[in-house]
């Protein structure tokens, strides 16, 4: 099964839409609830990162009998140092975004913790691609 979602940078009112939808789909497929929890946390953080840090993006979700594979590809400022971005507490979030309670610098570490496989590639001034795989 394949699903696709569009994500708009800056539009916090829709943030989490794809995550909620995927949660419902995985429930219907009777995936183990503990695995659903991990997938949903990882996707939510990656989805919000597009909203908070990029201009727009596309989420592609591929589900088969072995795994959920999610690819989030955005057009945006990119990440100059992925190593630094992965550190707990590192954030470049704007004051407005921080006021909303985002910008703790915990999103990428949360993805790392909850994904079975996580890959990030990024090009400054072009965009970022995050791949998340969870085995089901």
């Amino acid at each position: 099964m394949k699903f696709e979602y569009k994500v708009q940078g800056g539009n916090f009112s829709k943030a989490g839409y794809a995550s909620s939808d995927l949660k419902k789909i995985l429930k219907q497929l009777n995936v183990n609830p503990a695995i659903i929890k991990r997938v949903v946390v990882a996707l939510y953080e990656a989805e919000v990162n597009i909203v908070a840090h990029a201009y727009n993006g596309t989420i592609t979700i591929d589900i088969d009998d072995k795994q959920v594979r999610i690819v989030l590809e955005d057009q945006g400022p990119g990440i100059p140092s992925i190593e630094q971005a992965m550190q707990k507490g590192f954030s470049t979030a704007s004051p407005h975004v921080r006021e909303m309670g985002f910008g703790a610098g915990m999103g990428l570490p949360n993805i790392k913790k909850n994904a079975d496989v996580m890959n990030i590639t990024s090009k400054v001034n072009v965009g970022t691609t995050v791949e998340i795989i969870n085995y089901i």
Partner: protein, 109 residues
């Protein structure tokens, strides 16, 4: 323990229409959403001062039993709308975070 008992014992106010006959276990207090995503547990009560709509998505994704807005904070109208749709319980108190956490901890332990 049930949310409706907690409401009665700590004098919480409900916003929206979600069914309050629901179990909870313990709680988590934080105003940082990714901290809640990473560390709150299913069925926790979540005490926060964040009142915008995104708290509903977080609560729903994490199967949080109820959100409690402390310090007299009240949810925005689109937060209440989203919570009604997602069946997320929204509660409020004029007590500060420290005080309400203490009360809930005593009751729920």
């Amino acid at each position: 323990m049930k949310i409706n008992e907690l409401i009665e014992k700590t004098n919480l106010k409900q916003f929206g229409t979600a069914d309050i006959n629901r179990d909870f276990e313990g709680g988590y207090a934080s105003d940082l959403l990714s901290d809640v995503m990473g560390n709150a547990k299913e069925k926790n009560v979540w005490i926060t001062m964040q009142t915008h709509k995104n708290v509903v998505a977080v609560a729903s994704l994490k199967d949080i039993a109820a959100i409690v807005f402390s310090n007299g904070n009240t949810p925005e109208s689109d937060t209440i709308e989203a919570a009604n749709e997602e069946d997320v319980i929204l509660l409020g108190t004029t007590k500060g975070t420290y005080e309400i956490c203490g009360e809930i901890y005593q009751i729920a332990k």
